[in-house]
Symmetry: C3
Subunit: 259 residues, 3 copies
């Protein structure tokens, strides 16, 4: 049904791998590489030029790389100068501005707006409609839920860009905001609707406006089974690398995540 | 001005009723029914295939039905497998994922993102930029204001999908969040910016982060006239079925709503 | 790379100035004026008809004016009946509904949704994904940060439209909500994540849910330098008219802003 090659516009300076499908009404600009097996759906813009394009005649697009087996859903805009790792996927209407780096196996949900100059590790899942400020830094296995906001200006308006930094396995609850420069520790859990103004230590549950320390996540009893719900990788393995062997064994093989 | 039939792509397996207008750059996929009198504006995708389409060669689109007199504004995406009742309307850039059911006379505002497997009754109005999690259940005459978030995971991340359920006449204030599994009672009012973690009884006004019970809605004095503002149907009838006869008389004719 | 004139549709009743560039897949409807030097990127809709278009055969589009040197990024929708001042710019997927007036040198960020019948002065910057209710009134040099919500209904649902009004130099922090009819004073600062239910006086810092008065903004010490951070124009001049001469001198030349 899709992929009829109607109104598709691909630059001669773009490199398209094998077994790549490109949807109708999609544009791919100069210096974009789309690797093998990727799907770019309808109405996408890949390699969107930066602002200088509109004023500088010598403008040349920065290189953009979409690694193997991406699935980019319709109406997504990816600026030039981004690198998106293997198995990357997006929902609809995602905007990813220039100089954003994603590791492998990441997902970005419908409407999310990544402002550029941001860095994500592997296995990060950003759900719908998150706003990610410039110079945000996110490590591995971090999940960001719908309508989250990451800010980066400690004294608005200023020209300071101090994005939040989020450590491995942290979970950022829906509709929460993380203020400029805040650091969130490994395995931390930010409750839904929180306003996080101070750093959050490893394994801390914080909650509220302003967010306050509630307890260690390892003390959160499950409402679903008899036992503790966190650290979450012991109970959730969908699309995770410990799916076959369990988190404990995987951790033994990947001791850098034990901290 | 519109409806020039430029770059329109309609599947031969779609059924388009009489007096239907379809905007430029719109795509209608297999097994979509658009009933009489409906308007689909520019740049829409109707019957968007589910994920299996990208990997399974035997994929067949589920049936999608847009009933009479819909007005679907531009850039809206409706997945296959949805049923949208009569007089359905959307703003721009709405996303409605698979297996979503709307009754008659519903509206969904610009940017709203309905994640699928959700059920709405009649006369539900969702304003701009709401996020509605999977397995949400909403009855009749429910209004959801801008930037509301409905969550469905009690222990993120998990594979549990426990959407909120909202009873008749409830009003969900702007920028509030309703957490997984929360039940909101008939005629309840959730104040703007609230974080609702517990069930809300019928006729309750709740407010704050976390939301707390404030008073019975029938005790809210109007700032506009001498008297009580709620239950709201006594003072608001725009596009409502009690417009001609008044809410009291309508209620007498529709006793199932008296509870 | 852009501006290939592919699938562009410009009404014969539109007036396009000199040195205007119009992106592929863009539509410009009747009675739109685009002044000299403006750039309209891909997939935009300019002069979107109002609702009456769908039902009234005698419908005529209201006049829409985009003044000199605008930069309208892709997927933006601007309804008929708007006036956008000189040097106006938008991010992607902005929606501006009918009868919205912007002064000069304003910016509106990606995904922002302006509901119409709103008025903005000069040098207003609206960041990503703000929701601006009808009948909002904003003066000059006001910055509105990401995911802000302006409401206008004091008793939802009602047919009252009482938008907030925001005075010169006020700063509305990310993810805050300003309720119907609230007035925000000159140089006021609303902290991120606030729920503002009462008026905020000039130079007040308010914060929290519900927002409470914290201190005079002139008592906020900078974390960046030795001294006070606010009023902000003493420390921020990017694209501002006092850039060359400093705020103090500019204020002497523009005494109407001294109040």
């Amino acid at each position: 049904m899709k992929f009829n090659n109607r109104n598709v516009n691909i630059s001669k300076k773009a490199a398209i791998g094998t077994n790549v499908r490109i949807g109708d009404d999609t544009i791919i600009y100069d210096n974009v590489v789309v690797e093998d097996g990727s799907v770019i759906c309808n109405n996408c813009i890949i390699g969107e030029p930066e602002n200088a394009y509109y004023s500088e005649t010598s403008y040349e697009n920065a290189f953009t790389r979409i690694k193997k087996n991406a699935l980019i859903r319709s109406h997504t805009i990816i600026y030039s100068g981004c690198t998106l790792g293997e198995n990357f996927s997006t929902g609809h209407r995602v905007t990813i501005r220039e100089q954003t780096y994603f590791g492998d196996n990441c997902r970005v949900g419908t409407l999310s707006d990544i402002q550029g100059f941001a860095e994500f590790g592997n296995y990060c899942w950003i759900h719908s409609n998150a706003f990610i400020a410039q110079y945000t830094s996110v490590k591995d296995f971090v999940f960001i839920y719908p309508q989250v906001c990451f800010a980066n200006d400690p004294h608005p308006p200023s020209s300071i860009n101090r994005g939040p930094s989020i450590d491995n396995f942290a979970q950022i609850g829906a509709k929460s905001i993380i203020l400029a420069g805040v650091k969130i520790g490994t395995h931390a859990l930010v409750g839904a609707g929180s306003v996080v103004v101070d750093n959050v230590g490893a394994h801390q549950l914080v909650l509220g406006n302003p967010a306050k320390y509630i307890k260690d996540v390892r003390e959160i009893k499950s409402r679903e089974f008899d036992g503790m719900q966190y650290p979450w990788p012991y109970h959730f393995d969908r699309s995770m690398p410990w799916k076959e062997i369990g988190f404990e064994k995987w951790l033994g093989q990947n001791p850098q995540y034990s901290k």
